[in-house]
């Protein structure tokens, strides 16, 4: 495959002579996929298999451990903290992804038109997405401060609350606060993805539909939406994966507290594997995510297939 890959430019130069190779879909296909496969194989698949192997061992840091079968998984199923983390993850990802989709879509529709300041708005709406999470999480950490919250100050000023709000001390409020921060960061991702999708819809279709007397809703339902579905599915699936695997935001703002109310798979795996040194168990926590995500991807893939 390496040889094929190396020969590609030459082939391009002498396309008449080498035409047959270029026209061989299988060879060309694999050659073009090779670089991506190499990167993913060396730096992802291999360490990943190592990780999966770890989840079946009682390995600790600097100690390879021995094979223990499903012991780690059995242990986790009976572990209250882990079960809470499962619930937290489902809640966190479920609510945040839906909110991000709705808000992101609304924003994309809003800016998918000509108006004064469009350039500024489109650039500005990307900001939450581009500032490093480690730093924006710090900002939220501070915005949610129990004493010096600027949010509380504003709510007080407009008379909505009369004392400090305990954003991160109350389990449910802490969950809501983190979801809000995650939504803040993720909305631009949906907005920009869906906006890009909206822009690929040929304007002629709208004009034709308008001439046929279709209203805004009909145009949206029968033209925009069907063309947008593939992008929407991809964006949603990726956001779901990123949200389920979220780590930094939680780790910086609450470290999984109060009383484990905001632990997700990522934070729990990190805590057990790195801080506790129980590599095998930490790996098992992370491996537990896979079935959930695979199911989610399978659904998405089916949806995309149908669109084809």
């Amino acid at each position: 495959m390496d040889r094929l890959e190396a020969s590609l430019p030459r082939v391009a130069a002498r396309r008449a002579a080498a035409g047959s190779l270029l026209e061989n879909r299988d060879a060309l296909g694999w050659a073009m996929v090779a670089p991506a496969l190499f990167l993913l194989g060396a730096f992802l698949a291999y360490p990943f298999l190592l990780g999966v192997w770890l989840s079946f061992t009682d390995s600790r840091i600097a100690n390879p451990g021995r094979f223990v079968g499903l012991e780690n998984f059995r242990y986790l199923v009976g572990d209250g903290v882990f079960r809470l983390a499962v619930l937290n993850t489902l809640l966190y990802a479920g609510v945040a992804v839906v909110l991000k989709f709705v808000l992101g879509f609304a924003l994309a529709l809003l800016v998918d038109r000509e108006f004064r300041g469009k350039r500024f708005v489109r650039a500005a709406m990307l900001l939450p997405w581009i500032v490093p999470t480690s730093l924006s999480a710090l900002v939220f950490y501070w915005i949610y401060d129990s004493q010096f919250s600027v949010l509380t100050w504003v709510l007080r000023a407009v008379g909505l609350v009369d004392r400090s709000v305990n954003y991160l001390g109350d389990p449910n409020l802490a969950r809501a606060s983190l979801i809000a921060a995650n939504v803040w960061r993720g909305v631009p991702f949906f907005a920009i993805g869906l906006l890009a999708g909206l822009q690929t819809v040929p304007r002629e279709l709208y004009e034709a539909a308008a001439m046929d007397g279709a209203g805004p809703w009909a145009r949206f339902r029968w033209i925009t939406w069907p063309l947008l579905v593939p992008v929407a599915v991809v964006v949603t699936v990726f956001s779901t994966i990123m949200t389920v695997g979220d780590f930094q935001l939680i780790w910086i703002v609450t470290k999984g507290g109060p009383a484990n109310a905001t632990h997700l798979f990522g934070t729990l795996a990190y805590q057990r594997a790195v801080q506790g040194g129980f590599l095998g168990e930490g790996a098992a926590v992370a491996v537990f995510v896979l079935p959930v995500l695979v199911a989610c991807v399978a659904l998405a893939y089916r949806a995309l297939r149908r669109e084809d």
Binding site: G29, A36, L40, L127, S134, Q199, F238, F247, A269, L304
Partner: protein, 277 residues
Amino acid sequence: MNRPAARLLTFQLPLAAFLVFLLFPFYWMLVTALKPNRDLYNLTVNPLWTWTPTLDHVRRLLWDTHFLPWMRNTLVISVGATALSLAASLLAAYAIGRLRFRGSGVLGITIFLTYLVPPVILFIPLSRIVSALGLWDRPAALVLTYPTFLVPFCVWLLLGYFRTLPRELEDCARVDGASRFQVMRYVTFPLALPGILSCLIFAFTLSWNEYLYALVFLSSTDQKTVPVGLATELVTGDVFQWGPLMAGALLGSVPVAVAYSFFVEHYVAALTGALKE
């Protein structure tokens, strides 16, 4: 209802609400970066404004930390990882989406599945590989490992885009005698430009923001990236030096934001041009 009022309700107000929601934290960063320390913990003054702005925090950030080298490192790493990922993804996505070769379906799913693996569990096994390759404490370690979470997304986003593009154009070009590479270069890729730019933005951003790998694989202070470096030098024990931290967060994002504003417009222009012909 008259038109301006309708516009106000359906467009201007919602947009304003969005902007406040999305931009407030940045305003808050800015105010914090300019506030003297005394005002940070003072509950009696309006926190949203400062009457005694100071550039001390910015000065501290620029001269007392390695902020500028960190910016340079982050830029080099992000550009490298993005270029590598985009090149690999473009080829792979075109092959899977358009060539329909044997195994392409399975391959598409496989590449996608790789995105599911959380970095939290990868970093310890991965550190062994990075070390074996002699990449420890080198920017190349990140340029090579970041594609693991960039390529799957880019491939899939591009696949989605290729599907929305009318095949007829390519078929016509083929009928006219264009080779596959000519079709790719002159028909498919220009049409897919919005998708490619989205990938670019995405890949660049994720590289810019990555924390865990950068934390583990880079060691020397002057090799670090902005997200990791700021925390190392500006969180001293249980004291967060909010002023310089926020100044760093702002300065670390503004240049990127400017670049993005260029890309956003560029892709809109590219799009209208490419699709209307």
